[in-house]
């Protein structure tokens, strides 16, 4: 008997901690879950901050969960299943795998939980075949973003020269779209050839190695396009280690704070801004609208822009300014699209705009 107690002691301490975690019932506030690909990436952290700000102002309980690794679809599915068991009122999801996540979406559908997809699309054909549905997709047009990046590279190179690509995880809709856009833009310039295109699985450390290898095998490369900023930042280090900073054009994607800093410092040339904060905010607002019986458009594009040395504002100020300017938008949007939302939720959205931007000039 004493052994028995001994064995359970450790777990018991943890269990007690668990109980303590469940402080205060959420009352009748709706619970919205945000399931991310990972929390080890500024992009998703900014998305979380945007979502949290909106949740606070709308009186929504926000749960944020993510697998330890971005590529772990199976664990992401487990998280979704667990949240369905918890009966969250809405699910906001950035799929780790466009096709793989479909069964989990279908389970949420069956439980009557509306699914809002952010950033990466769920594969439409697979979803249709499984009879699943998502309420709305909120994200950037990644093909267009890739095209903008490709055009920038072409302009900088004067229309000729060898180029290398650092890919994300193959089969990810986001990365594939960016590459497609980039290749389309490059294809318009016959003088530019893509001499190398390798994956670094979205990760900074892997991109360091891939870039180092690319610079070894293709020292003639004049420009590198990385499908996200962490990989571009890995490339920054590899280029610096090779003593070639400023020698070739480096373009990333996501406009993360570190990348903006690198651009201001001349170690990177451009990045495509996606505004994850706005995605997170819009997702919570959409869920809130849906839960109050309103409707949301099936596609909600979030604007993209190219960030270069000219417009890479100092990180801190830009970060602080962003949510305010973003928060003004929904009121405008709600005003501009009165047909798409119920009067009740339009008021809710308006209130969100006011409280999310204290002192900000809501129109």
């Amino acid at each position: 008997m004493r052994r028995l107690r001994g064995a359970s002691l450790g777990v018991f301490a943890l269990a007690a901690a668990l109980c303590a975690c469940n402080r205060g019932g959420p009352g009748d506030r709706p619970t919205v879950a945000l399931v991310l690909k990972t929390l080890n990436n500024d992009f998703f952290i900014e998305m979380t901050e945007g979502a949290q700000a909106a949740a606070d102002s709308l009186g929504v309980e926000l749960l944020v969960q993510a697998p330890e690794r971005e590529i772990d679809v199976e664990k992401q599915m487990q998280i979704i299943e667990n949240l369905i068991q918890r009966r969250v009122d809405a699910l906001l999801l950035t799929p780790s795998g466009s096709r793989e996540v479909v069964p989990a979406v279908v389970e949420a559908n069956a439980a009557g939980i509306p699914v809002v997809v952010l950033d990466t699309r769920v594969d439409e054909e697979a979803l249709r075949r499984a009879d699943g549905s998502v309420a709305t997709f909120i994200g950037s047009d990644n093909v267009e973003g890739g095209r903008i990046a490709g055009q920038f590279v072409a302009d900088r190179l004067g229309g000729r020269g060898p180029v290398a690509i650092i890919e994300g995880i193959p089969g990810h809709e986001t990365g594939d779209s960016r590459l497609r856009g980039f290749r389309e833009a490059i294809a318009e310039h016959p003088g530019i050839t893509i001499v190398s295109s390798q994956t670094a699985n979205w990760e900074r450390d892997q991109a360091f190695n891939v870039t180092q290898n690319t610079l070894q095998s293709h020292p003639e490369v004049r420009a590198i396009f990385a499908a996200n900023d962490p990989m571009a930042l890995g490339a920054v280090e590899a280029i610096a280690a090779a003593g070639r900073t400023g020698d070739l054009v480096l373009v990333g994607f996501d406009a993360q704070p570190d990348a903006r800093t690198a651009i201001r410092g001349g170690r990177m040339d451009a990045t495509v801004a996606q505004n994850p904060r706005e995605m997170g905010r819009l997702a919570v607002v959409s869920a809130h609208t849906l839960l109050n019986g309103g409707s949301v458009p099936p596609e909600q594009p979030v604007e993209i822009e190219l960030v270069t040395r000219e417009n890479a504002q100092p990180g801190g100020e830009a970060e602080a300014a962003e949510p305010e300017s973003a928060a003004i938008e929904p009121a405008e949007r709600a005003a501009a699209e009165p047909a798409q939302s119920e009067p009740g939720d339009a008021k809710g959205v308006g209130a969100a705009a006011e409280s999310a931007a204290p002192g900000g000039g809501a129109p």
Binding site: R3, G6, A7, G10, Q78, N82, Q85, R99, P103, T199
Partner: protein
């Protein structure tokens, strides 16, 4: 040290060992029950039939890998290649399906690849005399690379409903992966307790030299143990591919560590020679329950990793304590 001596000692000591094992398993089981009790108090969503089935189903993937890992660890080895073998077997299956093979044949290809790779591990360890850590570390990289080469780095998606039944189907209301996992545990338990293979696995892990001296064909049985681990990795890959409707070359990363954690939480000694699959099952359930509970409670993902680490270390601390007390008991 005490384990080594006891495992190679005469039958009476063996019986004593068996009794102590029971105590340890009950300790782990008590831990699981306490965890469940706490979650039941903490959230109304935990103790529902659908959530409990959900937890058991989620434990199936790591649970099946962990059976093979238990065999290897009992024999005094380690298998770091299981995660990569899950990916490679899955890709082998996917490639076969893509090439037009009927699903049962494709599944056989996947299982064959897993078994063969496991046996290569076994050969490297026995004939090559390479430490298991190194041999399977090599296989971990080779198998991952082969999976990426075969698939061109891309997932292979789209499988018939009949195959997906393995992960999405129910028999008498119980999810198929759960039935499969329980069947594998029952079989593994019988093998370990009732067969020569089982007895030799403990003997080799307890004291390899003593086992060899008493006439155990150490090499053959050791190789077989790695074969079992490879085969069970392949079985896991079938369930995983069916669940995701996609074979991924990057699947299974870090599964080896989750499997080792389940084995260790279940009270099997990393030194080999003592432990049981029953303990491993409880270990896998504790890990799945913990993750599920932390999700239900909405605990931050960062905190979850801390909690899982704490449980692993706490389980081993308890285990070491029990071992020491048991050793004192034997001396007296």
């Amino acid at each position: 040290m005490s384990t080594v001596l006891e495992a190679s000692a005469a039958p009476p000591a063996g019986r004593r060992r068996a009794r102590r094992l029971h105590a340890r398993e009950f300790g782990t089981l008590a831990g699981l029950l306490v965890l469940c009790l706490a979650l039941w108090i903490a959230t109304p969503h935990f103790l529902t039939v659908s959530n409990l089935l959900n937890v058991v189903q989620q434990s199936a993937i790591i649970g099946i890998v962990a059976v093979g890992m238990t065999f290897v660890i009992l024999s005094g080895g380690i298998d770091l290649s299981v995660g990569s073998l899950v990916a490679l077997s899955g890709i082998a299956l996917g490639t076969a399906v893509q090439a037009g093979a009927p699903v049962p044949a494709a599944a056989a290809v996947g299982l064959g690849v897993g078994l063969a790779s496991g046996l290569v591990n076994g050969a490297l360890v026995t004939l090559g005399r390479i430490p298991p850590f190194i041999a399977t570390l090599g296989m971990m990289s080779v198998a991952r690379g082969l999976a990426l080469m075969l698939s061109d780095g891309r997932p292979i998606s789209g499988y018939p409903e009949s195959f997906r039944f393995l992960a999405t189907g129910h028999l008498l209301g119980v999810p198929v992966p759960v039935i499969l996992m329980l069947a594998i545990y029952a079989l593994a338990h019988l093998v370990l307790t009732r067969t020569l293979l089982g007895r030799y696995t403990y003997a080799i892990g307890g004291n390899e030299d003593a086992a060899a001296l008493s006439g155990v064909p150490v090499r053959a049985y050791k190789a077989a143990v790695y074969g079992i681990s490879g085969l069970l990795s392949a079985v896991t890959s079938l369930v995983l591919v069916a669940r995701l409707n996609s074979a991924q070359p990057i699947a299974g990363i870090m599964y080896e560590l989750d499997a080792i954690a389940a084995v260790v939480i279940g009270g099997t000694s990393l030194l080999g020679g003592s432990g049981s699959v029953a303990g491993t099952l409880v270990g896998a359930l504790i890990m799945a329950t913990l993750r599920n509970g932390l999700n239900l409670l909405g605990v931050s993902s960062y905190v979850q990793q801390v909690a899982i680490g704490v449980v692993i270390v706490a389980a081993v601390l308890v285990d070491v304590g029990l071992r020491r007390r048991a050793a004192r008991g034997t001396v007296v």
